[in-house]
């Protein structure tokens, strides 16, 4: 039975084992490779996407749960918060290896959508589920503050 949903504004339909994690549908079936595999058990956040506007770990989200939902991946991320976050990320060269950064950016964008001017504590709480093994955390924190300032205008 095909499962239908929207990804980055496009209607998509896949016919796969309904237990398949959304992560592997995005990557293996739809070739949206910006969303990464890091742990498979929702511990690292590398696979973070937006599902109906909320962050979600695609590695533990069976595709059956995505029926009818609206999914955004790093490839389709847009809007003022996203633009501000990505610009801030580039401006201070946040990424090192870069592998976790799609997930970091998805979570950071969601944070700014909910809290316009997050404190350090807000940032720590929101970003706690996103591991960066290169430990770019100092710059992640800085870039989120910078993006918030940009959005304030």
């Amino acid at each position: 039975m095909p499962i239908s949903f929207t990804v980055n504004g496009e209607e998509r339909s896949v016919d796969v084992n309904p237990g398949t994690p959304l992560l592997w549908v995005l990557r293996d079936e739809l070739r949206l490779t910006g969303t990464k595999f890091g742990c498979g058990i929702a511990q690292c956040g590398a696979c973070t996407i937006h599902l109906d506007g909320m962050t979600r770990r695609s590695c533990v989200t069976p595709i059956s749960m995505a029926e009818g939902s609206d999914i955004t991946t790093i490839e389709g991320l847009e809007g003022p918060e996203a633009d501000a976050v990505q610009a801030a990320w580039r401006a201070i060269d946040v990424p090192q290896c870069g592998y976790c950064q799609s997930g970091q950016i998805m979570t950071a964008t969601s944070l700014l959508q909910q809290i316009a001017s997050p404190s350090d504590e807000d940032i720590d709480n929101a970003m706690a589920g996103n591991i960066c093994r290169c430990a770019t955390y100092v710059r992640i924190r800085q870039a989120i503050h910078d993006a918030a300032k940009t959005l304030e205008g």
């Binding site: 990505q86 430990a135 924190r141």
Partner: protein, 712 residues
């Protein structure tokens, strides 16, 4: 480090790409320096030449012989070329060089590979010469075109000028390609640098911000099968038998096959491969397996460290005599096995054709991996694409090339076609190649002035090198990676001895970001701090007094960090200084008690890495190195149950640093005109001892076993 250079290595010819084929996707926002996910153009053409391509579209592509996994060689090496060419930064592109030992060897290693924080150090003159040669060819072409002598030509920001005539690099590219490459072109005087020493934006930040940067896991080939391998649950175990009947029932599983490293499951997609592996039943032969528990091993290692060990690495004076009858201070330090845990678990894509193979892999030792593929697959031609890798920290630099071997065995068993080998996080955590379990034992005696009369140091650890293809580099000597940083002791001691006890286990071990310094830095810096405290000395002044003339650079970073640090708070402050890979780093950590364990609030860091090519990248590496070190100090260890089963499986049980535990960090780079040294590793060693020293000075409790917060 002695870097051998020859004219051959300074090949400076230009390849002029007349058109960039469609497969080359420059990862850039318009008008910014960038990199290519795949090298543009045909590989035959490239293998004839070296480092620089100038295209008619006015882009300059630098072929980078080192893998990029976060430490910045794509940006740094491109900077060296741009500097000598007088190019504009926005026209620069980086791309991974193909695997080719003749053209792209690491001059510090003699093979193509990255490690020991050598990427910048070994490339500094080579890439500058390449850039200078390219510039000379463009200038010669312009001289012909403008009808003026070369000495009337100037180059600035990618524009070649004489009087009112001018041309871009792109316009001159075809004519420049016909010029003779100078054999040994002069390079700039450092005083004339305009790009080196500035915070140029990194070439890879943009693509790593919008999801377009491609890693090995992102490579998909037509008809490709995804493969996961059931590996032994204990080190040294082997497959005895297996039953694949349930696995073969999983929809999408195509094949199950035994390979030397385990049982491989081939499937149409990742989920099917994982389900298939879950459904496998494997009986393991554990007759050769490591079955000791971690506690048993630590007890054995500790006895060996105390006994001293069979390798007397260094000896000056008479330690035994000096210790006899003296009041002895002694400490034992215990360091666990550590997984590197790169965010992208190991992976490789192999496409096997009739008589050749094409590989996509985050290869850290390209020509070693290439040779393994050729041998196992039985093909002469192996094109290896070095992909961006999601971290490594040493993990991808395995002397035995085990990942390449596993991928090759999988591809060989499959026959023609493409396979992707994927390790899961569990494969990574339980897959070995750990930082060795290490125990230090130090005994010392002080004289009445607080000077060190004797320092007797024993280290027990497995060798990372002995028993591997790299063993020959030791020339029969001890494995320096087990004790580097404890030898050539920087503090003045009247009598000194260093011994290494080589321990044995089937657990495979490997260099882990900063290698021996991960533990020697801790043992030496914690022990000296205790000695200083005992004799009532200030941690900075006391260290300075024990450092000699030849430690001028250690003294300078220590002095600088002490100036930077605001130690006025009601917190603990800890100091450490470590030289590793030719780079000097001193750190002071501000420590608070967070629920009975130390939390670093702020860290000050002073670094001397010679010429600072890109200060922003250096600061980033210090920040990241500190975070990596705190992970290990606080949380990380791999442990075995009695019987040898590995306790850790994933990030839930092998804990690493999260953002809430990250200190704020201030970095100062000491001005220097010395040749650049590496920064990928040297930020890591000082932080754990700085934290431990701050904690001990605050609470009176010495921390002598890592991690500080053991696994529950």
């Amino acid at each position: 480090m002695n870097i051998q250079t020859s004219r051959r290595r300074f090949l400076t010819g230009l390849i002029i790409a007349v058109a960039l084929p469609g497969l080359a996707r420059a990862q850039q926002k318009s008008g910014a320096a960038a990199f290519f996910n795949e090298l543009p153009g045909g590989s035959d053409e490239m293998s004839a030449n070296a480092f620089i391509r100038v295209a008619p579209d006015n882009t300059v592509t630098v072929l980078i012989k080192h893998i990029e996994f976060g430490q910045g060689p794509y940006t740094g090496l491109t900077t060296l070329v741009a500097e000598e060419m007088d190019a504009d930064w926005s026209q620069m592109r980086a791309a991974a060089a193909p695997a080719d030992v003749e053209l792209y060897a690491n001059l510090a290693m003699g093979m193509q590979g990255t490690g020991g924080s050598t990427a910048m150090a070994n490339s500094f003159m080579q890439m500058r010469k390449a850039g200078a040669g390219a510039r000379a060819m463009l200038v010669a072409a312009a001289a012909e075109r403008f009808g003026v002598p070369v000495d009337q030509i100037t180059v600035e920001k990618g524009i070649v000028k004489a009087g009112d005539q001018s041309a871009s690099f792109g316009e001159l590219a075809e004519a420049a390609a016909r010029q003779t490459a100078p054999e040994d072109p002069p390079v700039k005087d450092p005083g004339d640098f305009t790009l080196i020493g500035t915070d140029l934006p990194k070439v890879d930040s943009s693509a790593k911000t919008d999801g377009s940067a491609l890693f090995t896991l992102d490579v998909y080939r037509d008809g490709m099968l995804t493969v996961v391998v059931a590996h032994p649950p204990k080190f040294g175990a082997r497959v005895a038998s297996y039953d694949d009947s349930a696995a073969m029932q999983v929809q999408g599983v195509r094949k199950v096959a035994q390979i030397p490293s385990g049982v491989a499951v081939y499937a149409d997609n990742t989920f099917a491969a994982l389900k298939g592996r879950d459904a496998l039943t494997v009986e393991w032969d554990e007759s050769e397996a490591e079955t000791r528990s971690t506690e048993t091993m630590i007890a054995e290692w500790t006895s060996a460290a105390k006994a001293g060990g069979e390798w007397e690495v260094e000896k000056s004076g008479d330690v035994d005599a000096a210790l006899t009858g003296a009041e002895i201070v002694e400490s034992t330090y215990v360091f666990p096995y550590l997984a590197h845990g790169p965010m992208e678990p190991l992976d490789a894509v192999v496409e096997l054709r009739d008589d050749e193979a094409e590989i996509w892999m985050g290869s850290q030792m390209q020509t070693g991996d290439q040779a393994i593929f050729a041998k196992i697959l039985g093909v002469d031609k192996v094109d290896l694409h070095t992909m961006l890798a999601g971290g490594s920290f040493g993990r991808r630099a395995t002397p035995d090339c085990h990942l390449a071997a596993e991928a090759a065995e999988i591809a060989k068993t499959n026959g023609k076609g493409a396979i992707k080998l994927m390790w899961t996080r569990e494969d990574d955590m339980q897959g070995g190649y750990y930082r060795p379990l290490t125990v230090h034992h130090i005994r010392a005696a002080l004289n009445e002035q607080g000077g060190i009369e004797a320092w007797d140091h024993g280290i027990a650890a497995q060798s990372v090198v002995i028993g591997t293809p790299f063993e020959q580099m030791l020339q029969g000597g001890p494995d320096f990676t087990a004790f580097e940083g404890a030898n050539e002791l920087r503090y003045k001691t009247a009598n000194h001895r260093l011994r290494w006890a080589k321990m044995d286990s089937p657990v495979p071990t490997l260099w882990w970001r900063s290698v021996g310094h991960t533990h020697t830095g801790f043992a030496v810096e914690c022990f000296i701090d205790e000695l200083l405290e005992k004799s009532g000395k200030d941690p900075v002044e006391g260290r300075l007094a024990l450092l000699g003339e030849e430690q001028a650079r250690e003294k300078a970073v220590l002095t600088r960090v002490a100036e930077m640090a605001d130690q006025s708070g009601d917190f603990g402050y800890g100091v450490a200084v470590v030289k590793s890979f030719g780079t000097y780093v001193a750190q002071i950590a501000e420590i608070e008690d967070r629920g009975g364990v130390p939390h670093a609030r702020r860290v000050w860091c002073a670094v001397d890495c010679g010429t600072a090519v890109n200060p922003n990248v250096i600061r980033a590496q210090m920040e990241g190195g500190i975070g990596y070190g705190i992970s290990a100090a606080l949380h990380s260890e791999v442990t075995f149950d009695e019987g040898g089963l590995i306790r850790q499986r994933n990030w839930d049980s092998y804990r690493i640093l999260r953002i809430s535990e990250m200190p704020s960090i201030e970095v100062a780079i000491l001005p220097s005109t010395a040749e650049p040294t590496g920064v990928g590793e040297p930020g890591t060693p000082p932080i754990a001892p700085a934290i431990a020293n701050g904690w001990r000075r605050m609470t009176g409790t010495a921390l002598r076993r890592l991690p500080i917060i053991p696994v529950a």
